[in-house]
């Protein structure tokens, strides 16, 4: 079976851990528990009749307290870039993370996931920026770890992109 390393990247509290838990264990908690360090999970998926084992690296969200360690990207086949639709700055952070990944690890497949679609009424998304990113060829999906909306689709799309 093919094995693919996938990194979860994004600002703190955007829902990276929640997305992984929803995807792997189908559970969700409303309580925000910050991730310190790295957590690794595995899940087998079937995409286009191919079975793939995804090794999910849930990496802490970068902020003033914890800086991203780029060696975690070594061997990654792709990454899920996560932003929080209710916090505009997290999308800007995602854009800057993508640029830094390109500088550090070259161009590898990724999908931008704008999370917390269950709180759509509180979204403060920069739609101009979102449109601009789409126009530049970014794959962008909306998700909710709480309801499960878009979660499977996000990982499936990334897997397809990784399989080329």
């Amino acid at each position: 079976m093919l094995q693919k390393k996938v990194c979860m990247l994004g600002s703190f509290a955007v829902g990276k851990t929640s997305l992984v838990r929803r995807f792997v264990e189908s559970i969700y908690s409303d309580v925000y528990q910050t991730t310190v360090g790295v957590k690794i999970d595995k899940k087998n998926v079937q995409v286009d009749e191919k079975e793939v084992s995804l090794v999910l690296w849930d990496i802490y969200g970068e902020d003033d307290y914890q800086k991203m360690r780029w060696t975690y990207l070594r061997g990654a086949s792709g990454y899920l870039l996560v932003a929080d639709g209710t916090r505009k700055a997290t999308l800007e952070k995602a854009v800057s993370l993508e640029r830094r990944v390109r500088e550090e690890a070259g161009s590898i497949p990724f999908v931008l996931v704008i999370n917390k679609s269950d709180l759509i009424r509180d979204w403060e998304l920069d739609t101009a920026l979102e449109s601009q990113l789409s126009a530049e060829g970014w794959s962008i999906l909306r998700s909710s770890a709480k309801t499960g909306e878009g979660v499977e689709e996000s990982f499936s799309l990334l897997t397809r992109k990784m399989l080329g």
Binding site: K5, F12, A13, Y32, Q33, T34, V36, G37, V38, K39, I40, K42, V55, W57, D63, D64, Y65, Q66, R69, T71, Y72, R74, G75, R87, E92, S96, D122, E124
Partner: protein, 663 residues
């Protein structure tokens, strides 16, 4: 290793293993309990443990460890903490360290449980606080917007009350009725004061937007404000050991009058200087200065700090709640305030990293004609202002088309306008207004914004389209409660010449009407006198037709050229940028547009140097200059030198036919 030492290491939580190749490790000391919780079932006591197959994190770390074992460095090789899940489901933090001991490749694993939990607690608290802060900031923003809406709703009936009572005061009424009227007017003024106080209390921005309709006529001395602010902040700069001075390049004797209100202009300087101080180390210098840019004057604050953050675009720096990472910033409103205030006065603001060191924060404001701002104590009391009817000599009769969907406002405003001697046609919605405009000639069209069918914006665009860029345009006034800088910019883009903020007094309306001819003039080609036209004609060998053809070609091709430059920047194509900028430079040089030429030269240089980081910003400046040039050329295209001179002279005199449309 002795038994005691082995047990001590295990007791301290260390697992020591020797690397045997193929991702397998052999314990060289007693393994601690946590290790067994995670990997207990994977081993017999004498077998190597295939750790990298059990732990993807260790599989990745082994690559770093092997590098270290092959070429040891003093810095060592240590992982950050990662989480392993025990067979029981418990999450166990683990750290790894590669050691080279007597040539043996050793992996030391440790579970820093207590420190880890302490770190988690700390980060959880810090991040919760950050999230709370963000949430609070969003709440404040929402409340400001809500407040804006409430104020708008309160202002609408107040407009009617003001106009109704002003109208009544013109009637022949009994002394007793006059007393009642005075009471009513006093209550209306009180309510207006209260609304303004609410705004002042909750938001400077909203207060400013309410005042937007009246502040366009005041001016202040840019350099004088800069000096005053410099003087007041000098002790703060001294305390930090930062040298603050006005740039030696500034002409201290010149007048630097700009369209701005002095107290807010000082606050802008103050915010920019405080921002510079925050990022400038002790012993360094902050300079403040002003520059002449023709129709605009520019002020700047240069610091010797680290320059702009690389992950932020300049326009983001002036965003709401945008804060720097260094300590000392406040709520992230300072630079936002600067932006909205400067834009409200018709200016622009930006920042760049300086080539050698530090950054420059600049803003440019329209040059003022000369009148300085009155201080608040000098301001006349609104109740003592004479409306136009009482001073018939200052009002020219105008033909006015007035559209508003509120019958009360329509009736009262039309009544007052007629009493002032104007001829008024009223329309109850946008479509009716447009039909009326197409069937008669008007000097002024006053449009409410929110009307059923067609909004004021849509009517304005349709009118400007009907006029088709003709020299003589009707004077368009928007009547609206939404007068933020964004609103005013949008309205100007739609084709409006002025904005009447609601609630309005008749004084406000009359002031705008009396300014209408002057405003019409400023949009006319008289901004470029005939002498310059003559010079341009001379430049092309005296061939007027050729010059007009060149103007026509320039106006036709330039939008595409600008779009091409924008595309080259977006696609990060420096060669195309240099080539397109070079071509445009030639065109603007012909028309003597020096600022535009400089910007095209800069774009060309950036393209040639393959340095595109500032290109978008320079392009924005170029677009501003091109827009000015285009407006001027629009006038040139329709005149000859002789006509332009006579027209220029003619426009100095008021004319009743100014707004008449040609068919």
């Amino acid at each position: 290793m002795s038994d005691v030492l082995e047990k001590a290491l295990a007791e301290m939580g260390f697992a020591l293993l020797e690397y045997r190749g193929n991702g397998e490790f052999l314990p060289i000391a007693t393994l601690p309990t946590w290790f067994s919780e995670i990997w207990a079932e994977t081993r017999n006591s004498s077998d190597p443990i295939p750790l990298t197959r059990q732990s993807p994190f260790l599989e990745s770390f082994l690559l770093e460890a092997e590098d270290f074992w092959n070429s040891p460095t003093p810095a060592g090789c240590q992982s950050e903490t990662w989480i392993e899940k025990a067979l029981s489901g418990r999450e166990i933090p683990v750290q790894a360290r590669a050691l080279l001991l007597d040539g043996n490749q050793i992996l030391a694993l440790l579970s820093p449980d207590a420190q880890f939990r302490e770190r988690v607690r700390f980060l959880q608290t810090a991040r919760n606080a950050l999230l709370d802060h963000e949430r609070l900031a969003r709440e404040i923003q929402k409340k400001e917007i809500l407040l804006h809406c409430i104020v708008h709703d309160l202002s609408q009936p107040l407009s009617i009350m003001h106009v109704a009572m002003d109208s009544l005061s013109e009637e022949s009424i009994s002394e007793r009725s006059k007393q009642f009227l005075t009471l009513g007017k006093h209550a209306g003024d009180q309510q207006e004061t209260m609304i303004r106080q609410i705004l002042r209390t909750f938001s400077d921005d909203l207060r400013a937007s309410l005042d937007a309709g009246t502040e366009g006529n005041v001016s202040s001395d840019l350099l004088e404000c800069a000096r005053k602010t410099t003087t007041s902040l000098a002790p703060t700069f001294e305390a930090k050991g930062v040298h603050l001075a006005v740039s030696s390049l500034v002409d201290l004797e010149a007048k630097w009058l700009v369209v701005a209100e002095e107290s807010r202009l000082q606050r802008i300087f103050s915010n920019l200087l405080e921002n510079a101080l925050r990022y400038t180390p002790a012993g360094r210098r902050v300079a403040i200065g002003v520059e002449d840019e023709g129709d605009f004057l520019k002020a700047y604050v240069d610091d010797e700090g680290p320059g702009l953050p690389r992950d932020l675009r300049p326009e983001q720096i002036f965003g709401l709640f945008m804060k720097g990472k260094q300590s000392g910033g406040k709520a992230g409103l300072g630079l936002y305030f600067c932006r909205i205030t400067v834009e409200r006065w018709g200016g622009s603001i930006g920042c760049v990293t300086l080539p050698e060191k530090g950054s420059r924060f600049w803003f440019r404001l329209p040059r003022a004609s000369g009148r300085t701002a009155a201080s608040p104590s000098d301001a006349p009391d609104a109740s003592n202002l004479k409306i136009a009817k009482r001073n018939p000599g200052i009002v020219r009769p105008l033909r006015i088309l007035f559209a508003d969907d509120q019958e009360d406002i329509r009736t009262l405003t039309a009544y007052q306008l007629k009493r002032s001697g104007h001829k008024v046609v009223i329309a109850k919605d946008g479509k009716q207004a447009l039909n009326a405009f197409r069937s008669a000639s008007f000097d002024v069209v006053l449009l409410d914004q929110e009307m059923p069918g067609m909004t004021g914006d849509e009517v304005a665009r349709a009118i400007r389209k009907t006029e088709g860029g003709k020299k003589e345009r009707v004077f368009l006034v928007a009547s609206t409660g939404n007068t933020t800088s964004e609103d005013v910019r949008r309205l100007k883009q739609a084709g409006f010449d002025d904005v009447l903020g609601k609630p309005f007094r008749l004084e406000d309306l009359n002031r705008i009407l009396s300014a209408a001819p002057a405003a019409t003039d400023t949009s006319m080609p008289s901004v470029l006198p005939g002498a310059i036209f003559t010079e341009l004609v001379a430049r092309v060998g005296g061939d007027e037709k050729l010059l007009k053809r060149m103007i026509h070609t320039f106006r036709r091709d330039t939008p595409n050229r600008l779009a091409g430059i924008a595309e080259a920047i977006r696609r990060k194509n420096p060669e195309a940028l240099a080539s397109l900028a070079h071509a445009l430079k030639g065109s603007v040089s012909i028309f003597g547009a020096e600022s535009a030429r400089k910007h095209t030269q800069e774009l060309q240089d950036l393209g040639r140097g393959k340095e595109l980081s500032r290109a978008a910003e320079v392009l924005a400046l170029l677009k501003e200059e091109i827009a000015k040039l285009q407006a001027n050329l629009r006038g040139y295209a329709n005149q000859t030198p002789a006509r332009s001179k006579s027209n220029h002279a003619k426009r100095q005199r008021p004319s009743r036919n100014r707004g008449k449309r040609r068919r």
